[in-house]
């Protein structure tokens, strides 16, 4: 499978075979001795452009880059960049394109990573775009499910928390729909339910799912329980 110059923007861009391939490669990477790992990205530079705060995503990318022998440039706070002086988003990312071999981007604006992938000639990885997508978190979640349960197929998975604004639950639910015999249970307060467009896509793909307001009522025979926090920063009134 050829992943040369392939971007990772949305889980919706992936077929099941491609996800299986990435998870198999991830297992090989995990088992690879450090002395071999450090050769993989030697002499390469990753641009890590975090227009929005992040702890785990940013540092896991940087850690992976360093463990594979690469270097990194970028920022995690736009207040120290030329964006504050009025430079456009497009100009900023075009400049980093010249400094690096791959670009990881997080932005509060939805579609920012897709747009970056269309105007740059280096691979772009979406580290989260607003309430839209967080595909690498989904790949990691799928990897964790596979590692702990042996297979992603044939699982009852309960997903609880802020299902309206949590981008990881959208990506994960759609990714799980590519696997066989998946049964999903969604639990959230009524005001933070899974958006209709996601449940509609799941329905169209023939995925079995149920919706609950109360966690105690919902928990039964689940193989996996996936909890998310309330995404207060994405509430329209910030309350």
């Amino acid at each position: 499978m050829d992943f040369n110059m392939k971007h990772i923007i949305s889980i919706n861009d992936f077929q099941r075979e491609e996800i299986d391939y990435i998870l198999d490669q991830s297992k090989k990477m995990e088992e690879l001795p450090q002395k071999d790992k450090i050769e993989l990205f030697k002499g390469k530079v990753m641009a890590s452009l975090f227009f929005e705060p992040s702890t785990r995503t940013k540092d896991s990318f940087i850690s992976a880059c360093l463990k594979m022998g690469g270097n990194h440039v970028g920022f995690s706070d736009t207040s120290s960049t030329s964006l504050k002086k009025g430079e456009t988003f497009a100009d900023t990312i075009r400049m980093y394109e010249k400094y690096s071999d791959i670009l990881v981007i997080r932005h509060s604006i939805e579609g920012a990573a897709r747009y970056a992938s269309e105007i740059l000639s280096i691979p772009v990885i979406n580290g989260g775009d607003g309430a839209n997508q967080h595909p690498t978190q989904t790949l990691l979640d799928l990897y964790s499910i596979k590692k702990s349960k042996g297979s992603i197929d044939n699982n009852n998975i309960l997903i609880a928390g802020d299902l309206k604004y949590g981008r990881t639950v959208h990506s994960l639910s759609l990714a799980l729909s590519l696997f066989d015999n998946i049964n999903l249970t969604f639990v959230s307060p009524p005001s933070l339910r899974m958006p209709d467009e996601i449940t509609e896509m799941l329905r169209n793909r023939g995925v079995s799912f149920s919706i609950y307001d109360n966690l105690e009522e919902a928990v039964r025979d689940n193989d996996i329980i996936y909890m998310t926090r309330i995404q207060r920063e994405r509430f329209p009134n910030g309350a």
Binding site: E110, Y115, Q133
Partner: protein, 153 residues
Amino acid sequence: MNDRPYKVYRIENGTVIDHIQGSKAIRVLHVLGLDTDMNNLITMGINLKSKKFGKKDVIKIENRYLSKKEFDKIAIVSPDATVNVIKDGKRSEKHIVKLPGKINGIIRCPNPDCITRKEKIESVFITQHNEDEIKYRCHYCERSFEKECVSII
């Protein structure tokens, strides 16, 4: 000379947009920018009788022909409309507008957090047909919108 009585002024050269869904003519005029057109003679019939649709609207524009992009705009407002090109008083071409699968630069994304609302980017929407319902999915923010929710640039 055709003696058929025209409810809407007959034109020699230009475009007739026919079979517009009843009461949608003003919206069609607006999306084509013809509501502020000071150059061409435009006549319009609203809620005319139609054998096929019960009611229909008609717009006639003198000395003005439409582009493919304008056909697509009409299709978004009124998917069953037809566009007739009139030359020397006769119909020289007839087109049935068709909703394209991919719509470039016509729809404004209603999502205020979409990149197309922040940067100078041509919007791209994918037309989704789900039974009788039409939705438009933004290529960038990946959100789907019912046709009543979208506005035309």
